[in-house]
Symmetry: C2
């Protein structure tokens, strides 16, 4: 009897062999067919693709800690809108986000204590204290981002991890 | 008879109402149960969750243009490994990536011509010319990232968008 895989990565690789046998998505175009990009959180409880009913080829999905429009997301959205024809952008914060009310200063002090100061360490972790206000802030950041296609429309949402429901931030 | 929704966002919101009615994932903990984080590309043809066989709550998913370990991904991986207990990291590049061989200088010239120069525009779009070498570079960047938990192991992969198969970059 074979030993079970020991690491999470080995387990997902074993799954992927079966996935590939059933796979039938060859030849899709890189341009998202719904002209949509989604900016969401990395949170493990969220599946943007199923919660939005997206299929292979439909939308660009961007994810980071907090669903924030960082310089990296700015870079990606310029490519998305200027190279791949995306014209709608969703910013999706979520309830119970780890970045909401996160005591960032204490976290940094602990890391400095454990590992020492470093010039290459992040200056800020970008925690926030008001979920809805933070989504508004991200929309404002997008609107001030140079080179994102001017016809691209951005709207903000909150995903409730306990109900699965999206609500628009007005 | 009601008019059909006109925008991609309105369509996904209509879908989400039905999704939420079937939703049964309330109360999951924020810590990824597989202690796994995945860094993948925003590409619309990729579904990291299904291709890896992940369930709700299993893993942090990070996505940007190119599956690159940018400062934003660095920030997110510190949070992932130091706050949420993640100990394995997958970097997943993919075949036919839009960032592979992307003529970045021409792209920037076009944007400058169309919209003007801007201090807030990205300095670089981070295109690359060798898919496998680029995954190696991202692994090297992770290893040089201060404050990512020292016990976190990173491994690199390429996802084939035509076969659905992951292969490890050795």
């Amino acid at each position: 009897m074979q030993s079970p895989p020991t690491s999470a990565i080995d387990l997902v690789l074993a799954h992927n062999l079966g996935y590939a046998k059933q796979y039938s998505k060859a030849g899709l175009a890189p341009e998202p067919t719904r002209h949509l990009a989604v900016v969401g959180c990395m949170d493990a409880r969220i599946n943007p693709i199923t919660s939005l009913g997206l299929a292979y080829g439909d939308a660009h999905i961007l994810r980071n800690a907090g669903a924030l429009v960082t310089p990296d997301v700015h870079r990606s959205l310029i490519i998305s809108t200027q190279k791949f024809g995306v014209r709608e952008i969703m910013i999706i914060g979520h309830t119970k986000c780890g970045m909401l009310g996160f005591p960032e200063a204490e976290f940094v002090e602990r890391l400095k204590g454990d590992y020492g100061q470093s010039e290459r360490a992040p200056q800020k972790f970008l925690s926030f204290t008001d979920l809805e206000a933070n989504v508004h802030t991200q929309l404002e950041i997008i609107h001030s981002c140079p080179w994102v296609h001017p016809e691209a429309v951005a709207r903000g949402f909150i995903f409730d991890v306990d109900t699965g429901l999206l609500s628009e931030v007005k």
